[in-house]
Amino acid sequence: MTALLEVEDLRVAYGKIEAVKGISFSVDAGQIVTLIGTNGAGKTTTLRTLSGLIKPRGGQIKFNGKSLKKVPAHDIVALGLAHSPEGRHIFPRMTIEDNLLLGAFLRKDKEGIQQDVQRAYDLFPILGERRKQAAGTLSGGEQQMLAMGRALMSRPKLLMLDEPSMGLSPIMMQKIMATIAELKAQGTTILLVEQNAQAALSLADQGHVMEIGNVVLSGPGRELLVNEDVRKAYLGED
C-alpha cells in the first residue's frame, strides 16, 4: 500500500533562514498523523508548503502519487488536500453559511454541497443556529469549528489541521479533539499539527516530533506519549 501523502527531504526557507531542513514523513489513508513541537519548529511552515502557499526550496511532496511541487495553491484543494490554517482564518465579514460555501468553492454539485453544509451543522450545531451571522462575531472555539467545517466542505482526502486547540478553553479543546476522533472514525485522514502534545499524541496513529526544522523523533502516538524525552520536553515533566 502506498501512502496518501509522502514528504521526502522537504526543505523550506524564508530568505536565508531555513525553517524546514529536510524532513520526511508519510500519511497513510485513514490515519491520524501528528507533528508536534514547540513554536518555531517548522510545523506551520510544513503545512503551508504542502498546501502550496509557500514554495519549497527542495525535496519532494507526493499526494495520491502526484507531485505537488508545481501545483498552485488554489488547485491543490481540488486534488483533495484541505487545510484549516493556524489562527483559524475564517472570513470575518461573511456569514457562517457563506464561509462554509467557500469551503466548497470548487465543487459544482449543488445538492451535495447542501448536504455537506447540513453535515457541518450536525457536527457543530452552534454553527447551524447562527448560520446567517457574520463569522467574526463567533467566539474563538466556534471559529475553530467553522474553520474545520469549512475545510471539510471540499470533501478532502486529507484534512490538515493547524493548531486547532490554540487559545481554546479546556472544555472547548476537548470538544475539538473529540470531533477529530469522530472524523477519523468516519474515515477522514488527518494531518494534525499541535502544540498540545498530550492531546495530539493520544489521538494519533503516528507522531513526529519537530525541533528547529528537523524531525527528531518518530513513532506511533502511544509510544511517543510514554517516551521519556517527549515527556520531559513537551509534556512538562521532569
Partner: protein, 309 residues
Amino acid sequence: MHELPQQLVNGLLLGSMYGLVAIGYTMVYGIVQLINFAHGEIFMTGGFGALTVWMMLPSGSTMWVALPLMLIGAVFVATTIAVAAERFAYRPLRNAPRLAPLITAIGLSIALQQAVWAWYPGATSSLVFPEIPGGPFHLGSITIQTGDIFLLIAAPISMAFLGFFVKKTRTGRGMQATAQDPDTAKLMGVNTDRIITTAFALGAVFAAVGAVAYGLKYGEVNFKMGFLLGLKAFTAAVLGGIGNIYGAMVGGLVLGLAETLTTVYVAEIPGLEQLGGQSWGNTWAFVLLILVLLFRPQGLLGQRVADRV
C-alpha cells in the same frame, strides 16, 4: 431657498456618476490595497472608446441604436486598458513595497492622458460628444436634462447588478474572500490572480458607464476629464469607506449632493456670498471629505463587524 427638490435631484445625479467611478477605486483597494490612481484615466479612455464607436457609425444613426454600441465600445476600451495595466504594470509589483505600485499608478495616469492627447485625432482640445435628441424631461416641478436620463437609468441598474454579482455569484464570493484574507481564499481554491483581474475589469466596466454618462451630461470628452472626476470619485470612495462597494455609491451621492447644494446655497448665507457658486463647489466637496475623515476616519460605511482574532 429656490428649487430645493430640483437641486436635490441634480446632486443625486451628479453623485451617481461619482459613485459609478468610485466603485473601481474601492473594489481594487479592497482586494489589493492599491489606490489605482490611473482609474480616472481608465474612465477617460472609456469616454473616447464611446466617441470612436459613434464616429465609426454611419452618419444619421439614431441614438437609440448608437448608444448601446457606444456603451460596448466604452466598456471594451476601458476594460482592456485596466486589465492590461493590472497584468503588466501592477502584477509584477505585487510583492514590492506599497509605494512602488502607487507611483506606477500615478505614472500610468499621466501616460494615458498624454497618449490620448498625442495620438487621438483632435484630442488636444475637447471633442464634441453626441447628444440624446429631445427636450428635457419634466416631472412636476423637477426638470431632468436629456443628457442625465442615461444616468438616471444606468446608475441604479449598475448598482443592482453589482450587488447581485458580489453577493450571489461564486466569483463574487471569491472576491469577498480574497478581500478579507487572500491566503485563506487560495486554500479554498480561489484563483486570486483571476479575482484581482476581475476586480480591475469590473471597476473599468462601471467607469465606462460613468464615462458615457459624463459625455452625455457635458456634451464633450477630453483627455483631462479623468483627473478631477477621478479625484472626486476617489473622494467618494473614501467618504463611503474605502473597500466597501455600497460605501462607494453612498459616498458618491453624498458628495454630489454636497457639491450641488453648497454651490447653490452657500451664497445665500449672509456674509458668505463670495464662497458660493460654481468655483467653490469643489472646495466644499473636499471640505466635506476632511470633516468626515476627522470624525469618522473609516468612512460613512466603514467596517461594521469587528474582526476577532
